[in-house]
């Protein structure tokens, strides 16, 4: 597990991403043999979902600006088993690259028809699907002329406390990817590619929306779901 963490996940300290310098723990993580505390975790049901939580283009009176997209994929464990009925949360900037958040001072317009937050549960086969708009790139203060590539933030719970994951999804072909220290912090190029969603003609809906596929693999000792989870 620890070896896997080293190769797949970013290091704690990655100075090119400046905010890690004073926040990364300096001591190695302490190995913990999984107990009931780690193999259990919060479970969420349909009651946590509102009517348009999985369609970020329909949460307001009008439609948001931007390129309409469908983002969908499967959530599985490391053995390829689907993780059914698990909560997936997303949040993102609008098409202009601005978050509907008071701390975002980027001089780009807010969109009154876009908040940028969504959630859904995977189905019985671990599949999820969101309709949204493609987020814009946005500048940040990390280094001179720094721009985050377009991305959607993902939060997943999986079956246990150990499987909890927060990550970001990027878009295939974005020229900003190779300049982004947050994506580049993932040491293994193959693992890095797992964060880049591929354009997908099967998900693309004729005359309506472009499709992107983003599959997610959760780790953790409780990664094999129980039948009734």
């Amino acid at each position: 597990m620890d070896g896997e963490r080293m190769s797949v996940h970013p290091p704690q300290l990655y100075p090119a991403y400046r905010s890690t310098v004073l926040r990364a723990p300096s001591r190695p993580l302490i190995p913990l043999k999984p107990t009931l505390s780690e193999i259990t975790g919060p479970l969420f049901g349909e009651e946590t979902l509102g009517p348009f939580d999985d369609d970020l283009t329909r949460q307001h009176a009008g439609e948001p600006q931007g390129q309409r997209i469908i983002v969908a994929g499967r959530v599985t464990d490391g053995g390829g088993q689907p993780i059914p009925h698990t909560l997936v949360e997303v949040w993102q900037a609008n098409a202009a690259g601005r978050y509907a958040h008071e701390a975002d001072k980027h001089a780009a317009p807010l969109d009154p028809n876009f908040t940028g937050g969504g959630r859904c549960l995977t189905d019985g086969e671990g599949r999820y699907r969101f309709t949204t708009i493609k987020p814009g790139a946005y500048p940040w203060a990390n280094h001179p002329n720094a721009w985050r590539p377009a991305h959607i933030h993902f939060s997943l719970f999986g079956p246990s406390h150990a499987s909890r994951l927060i990550t970001q999804m990027y878009f295939e072909g974005d020229p900003l990817l190779r300049y982004d220290p947050i994506l580049e912090s993932v040491p293994d190029p193959t693992a890095r590619e797992c964060l880049v969603a591929a354009f997908d003609t099967d998900l693309t809906e004729e005359g309506w929306a472009l499709g992107y596929r983003f599959d997610i693999v959760l780790g953790g000792p409780g990664a094999t779901p129980s039948e009734d989870a």
């Binding site: 004073l22 009931l36 490391g78 949360e89 970001q168």
Partner: protein
Amino acid sequence: MTALPTPSQTVGPFFAIMTALGSNELVAPGAPGAMEIHGQVFDGAGDPVGDALIELWQANRAGRYAHPADDRELLLDPDFTGWGRCHTRPDGSFRFITVKPGPVPGDGEVLQAPHINVSVFARGLLNRLATRIYFGDEARANAADPVLVALGDDARESLIAAPDGPSAFRFDIRLQGERETAFFAI
């Protein structure tokens, strides 16, 4: 066939857009056994971390987790999920209202002392940090806890919340530095 786990990325500064779900009150204030856990998150310079997301996962007062992997015959409370989240204020502070969990099984026959499982996310953290809150008024249980006894003094000390007034505990999280909180690989 095994697949590579999806790599972690930072939660960034704008996660409040998704935190509409979840509360820092796992029980209502004044509910039987309700207590407060409060504290602050600090960075390596000792400055408050005002944009962290803290999540708790815990057993109920009887020591049972609301999860199918915990099939022991202990009372399950339908109103208590055992999960909560809170984002820190500009002064790095957070506050939860919850109950003290009962002891839960550890490896083999050994019971673990009452503890709450914690996830810490923030801008500048590329990975979720996992830690545990133990309770300063549980000295005997803590002394026998298999996770705590395996730690060095400083690491153990960093996980023990100090009683701080009636029905309240203080638990500070130091991400980096001399008094760094113990974080686990889980």
